[in-house]
Amino acid sequence: MSAAAYDVIIVGAGIVGAACADECARHGMRVRVVDQEMVGGGATAAGMGHIVVMDDSEAQFALTRYSQRLWQELRSELPDDVEYEQCGTIWVAADDEEMDEVRRKQLYYSLREVPVEVLTATDLECLEPNLRCAMAGGLLVPEDGVLYPPCAARFLMERARSRGASLDLGVPVAEIGKGRVRLANGTEFSAGTIVNAAGAWSPALTPGIDVKKRKGHLVITDRYPGFVRHQLVELGYLKSAHSSTTDSVAFNVQPRRTGQVLIGSSRQYGVESKDVDHAIVSRMLERAQEYMPALAHTSAIRVWTGFRAATPDKLPLIGAWPQDSTLYLATGHEGLGITTSLASARLLVDQLTGRRSAIPSEPYLPSRAASMEHAHA
């Protein structure tokens, strides 16, 4: 079988792999990308495409904010079908306790120069008339946005290819490591660096990666232009995203440029089946109707599932894999893959080229797991 020499081979052509390919190619590296199916066909195709700053932790904030700004810089180059819209997020507070959380977030973001605005109940009614009355208020984050991920991944990959990157689709990857990638059909490639950007499949290729599948469901309606104007997320979403054991749902709704309403979200553990789970969709839609009763009469045209790649500390793995000097990881992005894809690619390439990153890269290093273990030993 033929073997060709590359600087970097990226395994996985989802949004993270595509962003990495784009960044590597931009730096003049010889890049090859391999994917078992298509560009942006995994979690990239299944997710909401919400570009959002999060304040779970300093590290999560730093990465999401850095990456969100990179998307803003990129927006004028994005083709129409990427459907980038800076519609903003409203974190919805259903009661006074959640309003306290709104104020805490407002302080947090203001200190870090993220423009935000506290909304009263009246403000909220004005901005989003289809939300149930008697909400307590919310927090508007106007610089958040949405896009359509499969086309964004395609755009990044096309840019990479225009700079010489090559792409292999449709053959599963059998084995990676020690400077080599072997496809299921026997073809082998060699490279100075291999990047595992295979998302939910990354542990199958690199045993020992602590990434677990976290299943999600989404429902999309027919076209109702103007029904919802911002991405709306309940503050309880954070509790859902935090839980590492129980199945959970949270109100999370997005306006698509088509006028369709995209409804999420759910999280489940230890589930391998791609089938639609009726019980959890039921819960998710009940929750959605609690917040937006007018959704009840909309026409729901599709339901689908996807697997997020989740790590124990909710931060992605970006950087060298300690057990193999040729192997780097860019995976474990859970529900923030779209948002943090661009920054992940920057951090990765910074490490490959020995440059200083715009934000500290230590929190995302794969070696942190080892040092965490070490600390507990």
Binding site: D222, R223, Y224, H297, S299
Partner: protein, 82 residues
């Protein structure tokens, strides 16, 4: 001969025979049913509730498949509001 049923399509009165569907009423009134994503006028294609080209707003509810809905006296039908 049974009395015709009167419905309105975009505010205009249309008389149809009993058993007529909303799609037929729209076609009789000379109206198309919806505008496509690229702005084309669309009318029924399959006649059996599968193609969704016949969607219209019936008594305030959007995205109703008009080829499978019988006209009822006083029904208000609006097009172009997907």
């Amino acid at each position: 001969m049974p009395d015709p049923i009167t419905v309105t399509v975009n505010g205009r009165s249309v008389a149809v025979s009993e058993g007529a569907t909303v799609a037929a009423a729209m076609m009789i009134s000379g109206s198309h049913c919806r505008q496509s994503v690229l702005g084309e006028p669309r009318s029924p294609l399959c006649g059996m509730g599968i193609c969704f080209e016949c969607r219209a707003v019936i008594d305030g509810i959007s995205h109703r498949r008009s080829c499978q809905i019988l006209c009822a006296s006083g029904m208000e039908i609006r097009t172009d509001e997907w």
